[in-house]
């Protein structure tokens, strides 16, 4: 039922400008959910629409369940309706002139397979509506539903015929934040329950982490890293990935030595810092060390990367407190959870655990705002 998706060297150019998708390759094994994460304009939605067949790729190859559906070099292009896929759109795209039931039954009525009578259709629609929690809403006009319910209808409509691949294009971004969190968790449950292969596009990290078996981070049409969420968060392969997933502190320095994936960086007046690095840095290279605000320990002196700094500003936010800390001419933000702000302005000890400091070659790139 579910099928694997394979994307090889996908290229999509609009007009004559630079490629919106520039040589992206990855696969989604059957039953897995892959999330494409990136800022707007990074090419993630274009990639998804190429898989759907709504955009025609300029180059590369897309196969679903072993069948090539797009390969421009050989003139292969299967139309969306013959790809046997489901898709949930950002705007929900539920048809306002139909009831919930009509929306969900629509794909069943006109598919060549699965049409074993109208009883069957009734059962499938009812089961799917139960699955998404809309069992009692079948006869309502869709426009009487709330945004979250409409998105459930859209989801039911794309699941009801059990397509071999489900595509989700920022399905939660039009919902308010509380609802988004609830639906996000439920979405994961439903997708896993149906065993669907999924490709999910979002710019929201928290959605990506919860939903994805693996996350692919994209920027400027390129896929930077494709890995399970834990790896994206703890071993970002690239300073953009580190920054985009929230490692907003950057310390600049020079590489002193490197040993395997460990490097020592000279931060100038602040002293030395050891860090993990995925890149083959050489002594003398300019380096930026990225680390997350919540990984810095205040008021602790650990065995390595321990410094003395000064709290210059404290921002109490109720559930957490953010401190601006200066040490040796460097400035970092530190986040401590808990309702108590434990540190006062003035001198403070801080530890930057080497495992959470990630060193990358300094290519002078800007950070993501």
């Amino acid at each position: 039922m579910s099928a694997a998706l394979l994307i090889e060297d996908l290229v999509k150019k609009f007009g004559t400008g630079k490629a919106a998708v520039d040589g992206v390759s990855f696969d989604v094994p059957a039953g897995e959910i892959v999330v494409l994460l990136g800022p707007s304009g990074c090419g993630k939605t274009t990639t998804l629409r190429c898989v759907a067949g709504l955009e025609h790729p300029t180059g590369g190859r897309i196969s679903i369940g072993g069948r090539v559906v797009s390969e421009p070099e050989r003139g292969t292009l299967v139309s969306p309706r013959e790809r046997d896929i489901g898709m949930v759109f950002q705007s929900y795209a539920v048809w306002p002139h139909m009831t919930v039931h009509q929306n969900v039954a629509y794909p069943l009525k006109y598919r060549r397979k699965n049409t074993s009578g109208s009883d069957n259709i009734e059962t499938k629609v009812r089961d799917t509506l139960e699955l998404v929690g809309l069992g009692e809403y079948a006869q309502r006009p869709v426009t009487s539903l709330s945004g979250g319910q409409m998105q459930r209808v859209a989801l039911a409509r794309s699941l009801v015929y059990r397509p071999q691949l489900l595509l989700l294009d920022e399905p939660l971004s039009n919902l308010d934040s509380k609802l988004r969190i609830r639906l996000r968790d439920e979405l994961r449950r439903i997708l896993k329950m149906t065993g669907m292969t999924g490709l999910y596009v979002t710019h929201d990290q928290s959605e990506a982490v919860v939903l994805g078996d693996r996350i692919g981070v994209m920027k400027d049409g390129k896929l930077l890293q494709m890995a399970p969420p834990g790896e994206i968060y703890n071993r970002p392969a690239d300073s953009f990935v580190a920054n985009f997933t929230g490692a907003s502190n950057v310390l600049k320095g020079k590489v002193l030595e490197r040993n395997g994936d460990q490097a020592v960086i000279d931060l100038g007046a602040a002293g030395r810092i050891s860090a993990w690095t995925p890149q083959p840095l050489s002594p003398g290279d300019n380096a930026r060390v990225a680390l997350r605000a919540e990984n810095i320990r205040l008021g602790e002196r650990g065995p390595a990367n321990s410094f003395t700094g000064r709290v210059v500003e404290r921002r109490y936010q109720g559930m957490q407190t953010i401190y601006d800390v200066e040490f040796g001419g460097q400035k970092v933000e530190v986040l401590e959870l808990g309702t108590a702000a434990r540190h006062n302005d003035g001198e403070v000890a801080l530890t930057l655990p080497p495992d959470t400091c990630w060193a990358y070659r300094d290519e002078g790139q800007a950070t993501v705002d």
Binding site: L54, T76, L77, S91, W95, H97, M98, Y106, Y110, E170
Partner: protein
């Protein structure tokens, strides 16, 4: 987030069958051929006619002797120059008056606390629905120099002043009164979208409200004023009914009436008519182009992206003055002409010995109505008008849907040409469409000429730009993803259109088709050249009655036409409200 507009037709497949691969080019080709047939061919024939001196009726279709000298001779003709000059004066003067009225109204409605603004706003659009010939007839009843009702009233009051609407100033007044809504539409929306802080800044700087109006407000909406006045000028330029009713008795020819006069002579001067029609079309095209330029290059500093309430000026007791100004306008444009038509239609003779005679019930009767319905042509014309209206609405609606969908929703090669071809008629006055269709079909034996189809097709060609535009607007309101969702669900292009696009665009489709129907019913300019005695329509017959000189019958038939139009408009609103309700329910 990334260009969704670049989506493509889901038409091709793995091993695309030849039929499917050719579907798009065949479709585009078919549309281009239809548009060529409707628009380009008649225009080409018009051009050939203008530069040739062979008569298509006498010489048949095949023969013409192209020569520019003919065209140049026409341009040099004194009568043509006079008609051209008259048209410029009448439309220019009318436009100035329309700008004054339209601007005042938009200011009153948008920017002041004048009472009953909603009513004023709605009522000030009524003149748009009055057929030009009916307005002309009504004002000739009111303002003819000897028997005009206004002059009769003046005589009783012992006032020594007499109106004469059979004059250039009469033309200008009626043009200005009835085409002010075009200016109003543009300026009212510009005023509504204008950031009030721009005016507040001026008043903080020390200017009075009056100074602000003329130094900040009006200069800022200048592009809207210009666009509105260019549009009303173009519309006036193409109007036949008003100058036919008011200009003809005083021997004032404008371009439109002159063109018709040329074809009414014996033998008809079709070539000269074509040449003058080209002249009229060129002037119109230049103005339409200028108007588009003004609209596209609008540097309205006024449109800020945020929402705000338009500032409304507290006029104090003066608000009753602005209110009564509005009432006076409505009285002059709607009430007075209606009274005039009713009196003329029901009175045996339009002569009043004294004021009391107005209320002498013995003088009123249905005699004029009886006599128009005794005329078999009356029922024929009503029946023909309905047929032409239905054909225009159906053919035009379907064609506009096909064109609108192709232009807006597909990526097929050649859609730009379709867009261009379907926009051309914007720059062609109805009367010129009529002359062009005359040239295109009169010489073809067994062709369209003499059938009601030639009228309907001419109307379709004339109104296709507006219909496509209004349908495109309703297409744009339908999110692309609603269609894509159906494709993903396994539907093809055609069944997606049938199950998703048509139901969702239904209110827009109904509105466009009923508008087409109404426009076709009241169209006079292009009908003039295309009707025969079997295919006469209401607008043409009304002109016949008027030119026959019987004011009573003319007024009676005007009322009949107005009632029919009113009923149609009523049905239209009812239909579109019905569908608006169902969409409100459905989305």
């Amino acid at each position: 987030m990334t260009a969704t507009s670049a989506a493509a037709l889901p038409a091709s497949t793995e091993a695309a069958p030849a039929a499917r691969r050719w579907a798009a080019p065949l479709w585009v080709g078919a549309l281009l051929i239809i548009l060529t047939f409707l628009v380009i061919y008649p225009l080409l024939m018009l051009f050939f006619g203008a530069i040739s001196d062979s008569n298509p009726v006498i010489d048949g279709f095949g023969k013409f002797n192209p020569s520019l000298t003919h065209f140049i001779a026409v341009l040099g003709n004194e009568n043509v120059r006079l008609a051209f000059f008259n048209a410029l004066v009448a439309c220019g003067g009318g436009t100035i008056l329309a700008v004054v009225i339209g601007l005042a109204f938009s200011w009153i409605v948008v920017r002041t606390n004048t009472p009953f603004k909603g009513f004023i706003a709605g009522a000030s659009m009524i003149p748009l629905f009055v057929p030009p010939l009916v307005a002309g007839v009504a004002w000739s009843i009111l303002g003819s120099p000897k028997t005009g009702l206004l002059n009769t009233a003046l005589k009783w009051s012992g006032i020594d002043f007499r109106f004469d609407f059979y004059s250039m100033s009469g033309l200008i007044l009626v043009f200005g009164f009835y085409y002010a809504p075009y200016v109003y539409m543009f300026t009212a929306s510009a005023l509504r979208n204008m950031d009030p802080s721009l005016e507040e800044a001026s008043e903080v700087a020390g200017a009075s409200a009056f100074t602000t109006l003329f130094t900040v407000t009006f200069p800022l909406i200048a592009p809207a004023i210009l666009a509105g006045s260019l549009l009303s000028f173009v519309v006036m330029l193409g109007i036949y009914g008003v100058p036919a009713a008011l200009g003809a008795p005083a021997n004032i020819s404008v371009l439109t009436t002159y063109i018709f006069k040329l074809t009414a002579w014996a033998p008809p001067l079709y070539n000269t008519a074509a040449a003058v029609a080209i002249l009229l079309m060129m002037v119109t095209a230049i103005l339409v182009w200028a108007q588009q330029r003004v609209l596209s290059g609008r540097s309205f500093a006024t449109v800020a992206g945020k929402a705000f309430r338009p500032r409304s000026l507290n006029l104090g007791p003066w608000r009753w003055l602005t209110f009564s100004l509005a009432l006076v306008y409505l009285f002059v444009v709607v009430v007075l002409p209606t009274i005039a038509l009713v009196i003329a239609a029901f009175r045996r003779f339009l002569f009043f010995k004294d004021f009391d005679a107005v209320f002498d019930m013995k003088a009123y009767s249905w005699v004029h109505f009886n006599s128009i319905f005794d005329n078999p042509l009356t029922m024929i014309s009503i029946w023909n008008t309905m047929k032409v209206g239905v054909i225009t609405a159906v053919v035009g609606g379907v064609l506009a849907f096909a064109i609108g969908y192709t232009i807006n929703r597909t990526q097929v090669a050649g859609r730009k040409s379709i867009d261009l071809l379907s926009t051309i008629p914007v720059a062609i006055p109805g009367l010129v469409v009529g002359v062009a269709y005359l040239w295109a079909w009169i010489g073809l034996p067994g062709g369209l000429y003499g059938t009601i189809w030639i009228l309907a097709l001419a109307f379709v060609a004339r109104f296709i730009p507006d219909t496509v535009k209004s349908l495109s607007t309703s297409f744009m309101q339908i999110h692309k993803e609603l269609e894509e969702a159906a494709w993903i669900c396994g539907r093809g292009l055609l069944s997606t259109i049938a199950t998703i696009m048509v139901p969702l665009a239904r209110p827009g489709i109904i509105a466009s088709m009923t508008l087409l129907f109404v426009l076709a019913v009241r169209e006079l300019g292009s009908s003039l050249f295309l009707y025969t005695s079997d295919t006469t329509v209401m607008a043409v017959l009304l002109l016949d009655y008027y030119e026959g000189g019987n004011i009573g019958k003319t007024a009676a038939f005007s009322l009949v036409q107005t009632v029919i139009l009113g009923v149609l408009l009523g049905i239209t609103t009812w239909l579109s409200r019905g569908s608006a309700e169902s969409t409100a329910r459905a989305g």
